[in-house]
Structure formats: structure tokens, C-alpha cells
């Protein structure tokens, strides 16, 4: 029993250590600005099209699904409210994070994993750079900046998607009522949890990707394993954390 628990606890310890070191490095010289911008470009700009697409369709699906339920109560006018709240509170952050986990946690893990197995990480240390500072910190920072932004974009595009279904397509409500409804239903509580979640997810995705990448052993096969593990672990933690955060905000 104890042996069975040992490895996940050790991994968690490594995760916390890495998180601490990577976060402290934000304030320590030297800074790798170029690496930061490169990562922001790959993670942020690179994920933009797919985020917009997924965000749009999650709004479309939400409005379509809700149209039937709401019409039973004769409350089709509320479609804007429902779409906005579900997207901003939960769907936007979680879907975007899962998407970025699949796209970038795997990317980070395989990149760092290949560097590990080809001794580039060792070479980096041997040649005088801290791999945590040079590789992990820029990725973490870039993720913390871009993931909330991507989530905001996904939320907005999702609400637009909901509008497309509710107004021109199904004529559930009028355009002004939809937008008014969506806008008024959002409280500070919703916005706050909608922005805290992506920030926490950014930590999870970047650090899990980096941790599994840097722990890679066993050649090319090891890189594949690290990549898969990174995506699975990051996704699971996204769900656990979103449940915890929602629990806290529901009581507020």
C-alpha cells in the first residue's frame, strides 16, 4: 500500500518544487525575454484559430440544447443568460484548458523530453544555464498570460455562437434581448471564477508538461510516454481543480 502511494507523492513533491523554482525565477536575473515571446507566440497565437472554433461551437451547442428545455417552460428569452453563465463560469475555461492541454502540454513534454534524451538538458546545465530558468519559466509565464486571454476570446465567441443559434436560426428571442440578458446575468463572481480558473489551469498545463518532459527517460519511447502522461495528468487535474474552485465560489 505504501509503495503504491510512494510514486504519486514523489511526483507531487517534484511538481511543487518545480512550481516554486519556476515561479521564483520570474524575479531573478537573467531573463530570457526572447524565449518568453516565442512561447507566447506558439501557445497564444498558435492556439487562437482552434480556440475560436471550439468556443464558437460550444456556444452553438449550448444554445441548441437549451432551446428545447427552455421552450418547455416558455422561457426561451433566457437563452442569452444561460449561454453566458455556463460559458464564462465553466465551459469556456475548461474547454480552452483541455484544448491547450492537448495541444501544448503534449508539445512542451515532447520538446523537453527530446531535449532530455538527446542530452541537451544536461548540456544546458553543463554550459552554464539553469534549464528551469531557460525552459520552464518562459513557458509558465507565457501560459499564464495567454490562457486567460484565450479563455476570454473563447467565452466571447461562444456567446456570439449562441446568438447565431438563438436569433437568426431558431428565432427564440430578439438580438437586443439576447445580448442584454447575457450581459446582465454576469456578476463579478462569475467573471472572477472565469478568470481565476484559467490562471490555475495555466500553472497545471505548463508545469505538468515541463515536469513530465524533464523526467523523460528511455529514448524515443520514453518521449512518447511522457507526452501521453502529461496530457492525461494535466486533463485530470484541470477537472479536479475546476471542481474545487467551483465549490468555493458557489458558497460565496
Amino acid at each position: 500500500m505504501l509503495d503504491w502511494l510512494k510514486s504519486p507523492i514523489l511526483t507531487f513533491q517534484e511538481f511543487v518544487t518545480l512550481a516554486g523554482r519556476a515561479s521564483l525565477n520570474v524575479f531573478r536575473r537573467p531573463f530570457y525575454g526572447q524565449d518568453l515571446f516565442l512561447q507566447m507566440d506558439t501557445i497564444g497565437v498558435g492556439s487562437l484559430p482552434i480556440t475560436v472554433l471550439i468556443g464558437f461551437f460550444s456556444g452553438v451547442i449550448m444554445a441548441l440544447q437549451m432551446s428545447r428545455a427552455l421552450s418547455q417552460y416558455g422561457a426561451t428569452g433566457q437563452v442569452g443568460q444561460i449561454t453566458a453563465i455556463t460559458l464564462v463560469r465553466e465551459m469556456g475555461p475548461v474547454l480552452t484548458a483541455l484544448l491547450i492541454a492537448g495541444r501544448n502540454a503534449s508539445g512542451i513534454a515532447s520538446e523537453l523530453g527530446s531535449m532530455k534524451v538527446s542530452e541537451q538538458i544536461d548540456a544546458m546545465r553543463a554550459l552554464g544555464t539553469d534549464p528551469v530558468k531557460k525552459l520552464v519559466t518562459p513557458r509558465l509565464l507565457a501560459m499564464c498570460v495567454t490562457l486567460p486571454l484565450l479563455t476570454i476570446i473563447a467565452d466571447f465567441v461562444g456567446i456570439v455562437g449562441g446568438y447565431m443559434v438563438a436569433v437568426p436560426l431558431l428565432r427564440l428571442t430578439t438580438g437586443s434581448q439576447y445580448w442584454n440578458n447575457a450581459w446582465r446575468s454576469l456578476e463579478y463572481n462569475d467573471i472572477a471564477q472565469g478568470l481565476i480558473k484559467p490562471l490555475l489551469f495555466a500553472f497545471i498545463i505548463a508545469l505538468v508538461g515541463c515536469l513530465y518532459g524533464m523526467r523523460t527517460s528511455g529514448g524515443t519511447q520514453g518521449v512518447g510516454r511522457a507526452t501521453t502522461q502529461a496530457v492525461v495528468v494535466a486533463s485530470v487535474w484541470i477537472f479536479i481543480v475546476t471542481a474545487l474552485v467551483t465549490r468555493i465560489f458557489v458558497n460565496l
Binding site: 536575473r29 542530452e119 552554464g128 539553469d130
Partner: protein, 287 residues
């Protein structure tokens, strides 16, 4: 050679009863002790998994020994933390098994990497620019005869060329000790000999202390018996009684233990079945 004699002989690398053990498994390194002095070339032979690379990583501080003491350039580094190690490492050149080049940046940036990132080349915490180090980078690449590859990427080069870039990167900061991990592994005999010729040339021109991990006996044989002639730009065999032969020492590792340490003559004389495998190699006839 005048430089060599003028310089006081210093102990560059010292291992005292160094062991390394993961979990309860048998030790990867078992009470290994040796000293490498300045100007010396140390050939480290041994089968795969004998602990040669691990030893190199301990000397670089990439792995921490479970017990024993390690000294680099007279400094006891056994309990150094990562930050202190950066200073120590900036005086050690290293060539990794597969070259260890960063494949996302150009050859020029690879070779410039130590100069741009090591603390001792920074002035007031500011990094030098790539333009200011370009002459040094060019010189190091010219030395390995790859002066025209500055803007290429590592993936565009052959295995032997990547090794040579690795040598240029390791030597660009003029290290006091150069560690070569299997510089000839996986290369054809001709390319392997060019690499060893470069190592000999480097030793002659810069007077570096070197530790060379290899499983090819010829590498050690060449290092021990040849010198580089700068006037004629080729290698020449040392006379049989040359004292320069003595600067090349051999070490044989077996399952984490150091089983032999001595000169080439002593290695040849050994009757131990494992050790003589590294001296009675059929391909020894290198002219």
C-alpha cells in the same frame, strides 16, 4: 611544451572513494578513486554500463555522488549547490555522447552559447552580444574545420560534423579540463580518426587536460603515441623514448569499479581477461 613545464602541475580532478547508488540496486559507481593532473590525457575504457558516463556526470555536478569526495581544480565540490556548480562548470569543457547540440538554434548560436551564458563572461550582469563573440566562435569552428557552417542547423550536419561542433562548443571558452564522452562512438573508422586527430591537435595547441571516455582502444593508442606537428599540419608518431608518452594514462572500468590505472605499456602487460580485451584489440595496427 615550454608552457607545460612552466606551469605548476595541479590536480585538476580528484575522486576519493566516490560511490553512486540508486535505490537498493547494485552500485553504479563503487568506491572509485583517481586523480587527473594538469597536462594529462586520461583514457577511460570500459564496457557499456561500466559507469564511465556516470563518472563524467559526477565530475560535472550533473549527478550527485552518494558518498565520497570530489575535487575540481583543488576545490572540494562535494557539497556544492547548483549555483556554485555553474562557476566550476564554466572551467570545464564537455562533449556529450551524441554531441548534445541544441537543435533549435544555429551552429553559431550553439558554439556561442557558453560565451553568452556563463557568468564569468558577463560584465555587470549583462550578456555579451552574439556579434562581440563572433570572432571567437569563428576561430573555434575554424579549428574543427567547420568555419563555413555558422548559419546551418545541427540537423543539417552529419554525425561526425556534429561531434566536431560539440568539440568547438566545448573548447570555445578555453576550459582547464575537457571531458569527452565517447567522441568516436557510432562513427566510421575514418571519421573517428579525424576526431581523435582533432583531440590531439587541441591538446597540443591549447595544452588542455582531457579525460576521454571510449571503448575503442585505438583512440587511446593514438592519443598516447602521436603528437600534432603545427608546421606540417599533420600527426606524427612520438619516438619510443619520448617522455610525452607518459602524459597519457589509461583507466579501465568494470561494473562501476576502477579495475586498472596505468600507462599503455602496463595496460598491454596486463593478463586480466577483462582488461586485456581493451588492449589486444585486432585493429591496433594504426600507422
Amino acid at each position: 611544451m615550454a608552457r607545460n613545464e612552466a606551469k605548476e602541475r595541479k590536480c585538476i580532478l580528484k575522486f576519493e572513494d566516490v560511490s553512486l547508488q540508486f535505490d537498493q540496486a547494485s552500485p553504479v559507481l563503487d568506491r572509485v578513486s583517481f586523480e587527473i593532473w594538469s597536462g594529462e590525457t586520461r583514457i577511460i575504457l570500459g564496457a557499456a554500463g561500466a559507469g564511465k558516463t556516470v563518472m563524467m556526470k559526477i565530475a560535472l555536478g550533473l549527478l550527485k555522488a552518494s558518498s565520497g569526495r570530489v575535487s575540481v581544480m583543488g576545490q572540494d565540490v562535494t557539497n556544492f549547490d547548483e549555483v556554485q556548480w555553474y562557476e566550476v562548470r564554466s572551467h570545464i569543457g564537455v562533449l556529450f555522447q551524441e554531441g548534445g547540440l541544441f537543435d533549435s538554434i544555429t551552429i553559431e548560436e550553439n558554439v556561442a552559447y557558453p560565451l553568452l551564458n556563463q557568468a564569468r563572461f558577463m560584465t555587470n550582469g549583462k550578456k555579451p552580444t552574439i556579434d562581440s563573440v563572433r570572432p571567437d566562435v569563428q576561430e573555434a569552428l575554424n579549428f574543427v574545420e567547420l568555419g563555413n557552417t555558422l548559419n546551418k542547423f545541427p540537423s543539417e550536419l552529419s554525425g561526425g560534423m556534429r561531434r566536431r561542433v560539440g568539440i568547438a562548443r566545448g573548447s570555445v571558452a578555453d576550459p582547464d579540463l575537457f571531458l569527452y564522452d565517447s567522441p568516436t562512438a557510432g562513427l566510421d573508422p575514418i571519421t573517428a580518426n579525424t576526431i581523435i586527430a582533432l583531440l590531439i591537435k587541441d591538446r597540443e595547441m591549447r595544452n588542455t587536460t582531457a579525460a576521454i571516455i571510449t571503448h575503442r582502444f585505438q583512440d587511446g593508442h593514438l592519443m598516447a603515441n602521436f603528437r600534432y606537428n603545427p608546421e606540417k599540419d599533420h600527426l606524427e608518431r612520438l619516438p619510443a623514448d619520448s617522455p610525452l608518452r607518459e602524459r597519457t594514462k589509461f583507466m579501465v572500468m568494470k561494473e562501476g569499479q576502477l579495475v586498472f590505472e596505468g600507462s599503455e605499456t602496463e595496460l598491454d602487460a596486463s593478463r586480466d581477461p577483462y582488461i586485456s580485451k581493451f588492449s589486444m584489440h585486432p585493429a591496433r595496427k594504426v600507422s
